[in-house]
């Protein structure tokens, strides 16, 4: 079974530029999550989708971050404009619905460096 796919793996941009990350969850997983992991810390949830609807985006800085999950499969996370403090690893995860939904499976992440 293929895991969660993310691209790109690494991205370097200058502040005030925009950037987008892509995630393809495990086939059949209805729930998709984006996390931000700052160096030396545990991941922090940014947004959670159930199919193509947003379940929780309370931690998403909506003035600069946006995310969508069209058609309930792939998802993109965008930052515009980027700030220095956005330098982090952005992790995508997915889970099944129902009784097994408590277990999330993570992709390899995208390491963003903002200069």
């Amino acid at each position: 079974e293929a895991g969660v796919a993310q691209s790109p793996r690494y991205k370097i941009i200058e502040k005030r530029q925009s950037v987008a990350f892509w995630c393809n969850p495990i086939s059949g997983h209805a729930t998709l999550y984006w996390y931000q992991q700052i160096l030396g810390q545990g991941p922090k949830l940014l947004i959670q989708f159930q199919n193509n609807g947003v379940v929780d985006d309370s931690q998403l800085p909506k003035d600069r971050f946006s995310a969508e999950r069209l058609k309930g499969v792939d998802s993109t996370l965008k930052i515009q404009p980027a700030k220095l403090e956005d330098s982090a690893v952005y992790l995508c995860a997915s889970s099944l619905a129902g009784r097994s939904r408590d277990t999330q499976y993570f992709g390899p992440g995208t390491r963003l460096t903002v200069l």
């Binding site: 030396g40 545990g42 991941p43 379940v55 408590d102 999330q104 499976y105 993570f106 390899p108 992440g109």
Partner: protein, 113 residues
């Protein structure tokens, strides 16, 4: 509200000796508890999970964890460390109400030859 505290930010052991990574949690619900491992430049890999069945949970690569409700702990152990175990380990709680994960701060395990 829920929270997770990993009591050691760094643990160093010699190869072949036991590993103990400590985790305490708090949760208003009956939680699911997990340990994930993250190798350098890799994503998070699920080691094991507890979901109110047996309190001693066996995971991959010889790791296991014991859920102790009275102590609100979920410590991770392994009888004999291997060099490949060197990584960052995260204790995680899921309150299952909104399916939200809360991560501990992580413990970096170093294994000396």
């Amino acid at each position: 509200a829920q929270s997770v505290t990993q009591l050691d930010s760094h643990v160093s052991v010699s190869e072949g000796t036991p590993v103990l990574l400590r985790c305490n949690y708090s949760s208003s619900y009956s939680p699911s508890l997990f340990w994930y491992v993250q190798h350098p430049n890799k994503g998070l890999q699920l080691l094991l999970k507890y979901t109110s069945a047996a309190t001693l949970v066996k995971g991959i690569n010889g790791f296991e964890a014991e859920f102790k409700k009275s102590e609100t702990s979920f410590h991770l152990t392994k009888p004999s460390a291997h060099m490949s175990d060197a990584a960052e380990y995260f204790c995680v709680v899921n309150n299952n109400a909104g399916n939200m994960l809360t991560f501990g701060g992580g413990t970096r395990l170093m294994v000396k030859p």
